[in-house]
């Protein structure tokens, strides 16, 4: 089964307030005295916080994609906002990170037929 792709009818770049966290899994062991010992363990998922302003039709598309296509859990191919340039998209496999109680995204009313969507994604190593 191929990995689903972020719907082309949705914006390929997020709006401002985009944020990203990077890191690795490390083992940090405090010592009785002196600096702690730190060990590299493995790569860890990178987290992306993205926001979009979508029309009502696009919200429906996003809702179908999240609830039906990926069922809230499957990974999908997503254009990386920082690595992509213009129409040259660098795709990464990501998953939606559900917030409390399994919420996939937040939706705020902006104007008639326009809504602001907030999502948290994680890039799988």
């Amino acid at each position: 089964m191929p990995v689903p792709v972020w719907p082309p009818s949705l914006p390929q770049y997020p709006e401002r307030n985009y944020s990203e966290t990077l890191g690795v899994n490390v083992i940090r062991t405090p010592m009785d005295s002196g600096p702690a010992k730190v060990r590299y363990r493995s790569n860890r998922p990178q987290t992306l916080n993205v926001q979009y302003t979508l029309s009502k039709t696009q919200v429906d598309t996003l809702e179908t994609f999240l609830l039906t296509t990926i069922k809230g859990v499957l990974r999908f191919s997503y254009p990386h906002p920082r690595l992509s340039s213009g129409t040259t998209y660098v795709m990464r496999e990501v998953r939606v990170v559900p917030q409390q109680d399994g919420q996939l995204f937040t939706l705020q009313y902006v104007a008639p037929d326009y809504y602001k969507i907030g999502l948290q994604l994680e890039i799988l190593p």
């Binding site: 010992k37 363990r41 493995s42």
Partner: protein, 185 residues
């Protein structure tokens, strides 16, 4: 005496190390030869499913792991409880594998006899993601363990690891008693 490489010693004792040991577990069922061995690693260096989308019979499942001596070791978090110092019985260790994905559970259900376990510790930096790592030398190899008991639930698989305890075997193995030789009584 066990010899550990200079690179591993440097990794153990340095204040900051970009290397670590990966524990590789090989489970070999003894009474059912048709049963394939199970290969588990406690860390990962790459995705295994990129090369084999149908790995472990599950299509499109994302599986991480390492390749060592031509064999794919699936990553599952593993916790080891080391044996205690009780002299009255053979040393017993407990292996807890956190398998919420059920990748391991189905295989364990089909095991009917004792399972031989080999534990190898390998430096992560020696494992090249683009080769089969046939020539990699493990830092330490533990052999001779057998799993005597499996228990599992939705979150984890727990296995009791034990060595053959020759000290507590009956000696002599047989005696001339009515139970073994009723004809002479």
């Amino acid at each position: 005496m066990r010899s550990i490489s200079a690179a591993a010693l440097r990794s153990f004792f340095s204040v900051e190390s970009d290397d670590s040991l990966i524990a590789l577990f090989t489970f070999e069922p003894q009474e059912s030869p048709a049963q394939s061995p199970i290969y588990i690693a406690d860390n990962y260096t790459k995705r295994l499913t990129n090369n084999n989308p149908d790995l472990y019979g599950v299509d499109n499942t994302l599986v991480y792991g390492v390749t060592y001596k031509g064999q794919d070791y699936m990553f599952l978090p593993v916790q080891i409880t080391l044996p205690n110092d009780d002299n009255s019985s053979a040393p017993k260790a407990t292996l807890t594998i956190f398998d919420v994905t059920y990748l391991l559970t189905e295989t364990i259900r089909s095991i009917t006899g004792p399972v031989k376990v080999t534990i190898e510790l390998v430096l992560r930096s020696l494992l090249d993601n683009n080769t089969t790592n046939m020539a990699v030398t493990p830092e330490v190899t533990f052999t001779g363990f057998y799993i005597t008991n499996f228990t599992y639930n939705a979150q984890q698989v727990t296995a009791d690891l034990q060595m053959i305890d020759y000290a507590t075997e009956p000696f002599p193995a047989y005696r001339f008693i009515p139970a073994y030789f009723p004809g002479i009584f």
